[in-house]
Symmetry: C2
Subunit: 143 residues, 2 copies
DNA sequence: AACACAGTAGACTTGACTATCCACTGATGT
DNA sequence: ACATCAGTGGATAGTCAAGTCTACTGTGTT
């Protein structure tokens, strides 16, 4: 996998929650069991998602987490960013100073396309798509 | 960047070498300066690439590294794999046991496309493309 | 009021990745 | 032969993400 563990966990947990519907409240312990994520570690991730405004939490008896807004308004990018994973737009692997269209690095042609594809995927895919089991974006190799 | 440092360095170094042409012999020290990669660390990466059959080395005075085969036969995937980075074909972020078309995980529709796109990119792009400044694969979002 | 539940917060440990260093081997030039 | 150059290999140390642990706060139940 190309995602850091934390980001993958975050996405996995949100996908699991999304599959239950938008309004349901979930406890960390249950979610940890269902997703096979270490409970205490998941707890940290959930807090990051609360801080990012993706989730809301309620303490105490009967508490738990629920989505802070409708599923179609929670993009993968939101989840990934909350987990500390961000795809830098103007970064090429050659990485010597700035790299842009006017002053492209050697790897620019190869990289920018892939980089852009990943960013689009993260920006266009939402938890609603997970709930629906659909794919909003398609990659067509060749051409 | 979604690549581990080692993989990024490997790609960067190979791109730099490819831009010089296929047959030229390069010393680690010079390559390290040009690519801004720590010299001793680059040395290790170069050895991995030798072990993987991507490069050939010559010791002693006038020695250095050169490509073991033509540029168009060195794929990004070869370089990345030599650097310890491999994109697992049948891995989804949900990651509970096996995940395939018959028994897809929640994230399967979203993930398999992107995963496949990255793998195709690594498999189809070669150092020759870097030397030419071209992109062999194109991602078409939407549709 | 007392208790149990569940999220909060931060310290702590672990381990993999990154990076550095040095002694060694082999090749070239004088 | 000898000195120098350049890759080899292993030992070592630093850094940061990943994972664990424990005490705290707030909420609901009895």
């Amino acid at each position: 996998m190309f995602l850091p563990q934390t980001a993958e966990y975050g996405l996995r947990a949100m996908a699991q929650m999304a599959s239950r519907g938008a309004g349901v409240s979930v406890r960390t312990k249950d979610l940890a069991e269902q997703t096979q994520i270490p409970a205490h570690y998941l707890s940290k991730i959930m807090r990051r998602l609360v801080a990012a405004g993706v989730l809301e939490s309620e303490k105490g008896h009967g508490g738990g987490f629920r989505f802070a807004r409708p599923l179609h308004r929670i993009r993968f990018a939101d989840v990934l960013e909350a987990c500390g994973f961000e795809i830098e737009p103007n970064r090429c692997a050659f990485g010597l100073g700035q790299c842009n269209l006017k002053n492209p690095c050697l790897l620019h042609p190869s990289f920018s396309e892939l980089n852009g594809a990943i960013r689009q995927w993260a920006a266009k895919t939402t938890l609603q798509d997970v709930a629906d089991g659909t794919t909003p974006i398609r990659f067509v190799p060749g051409a």
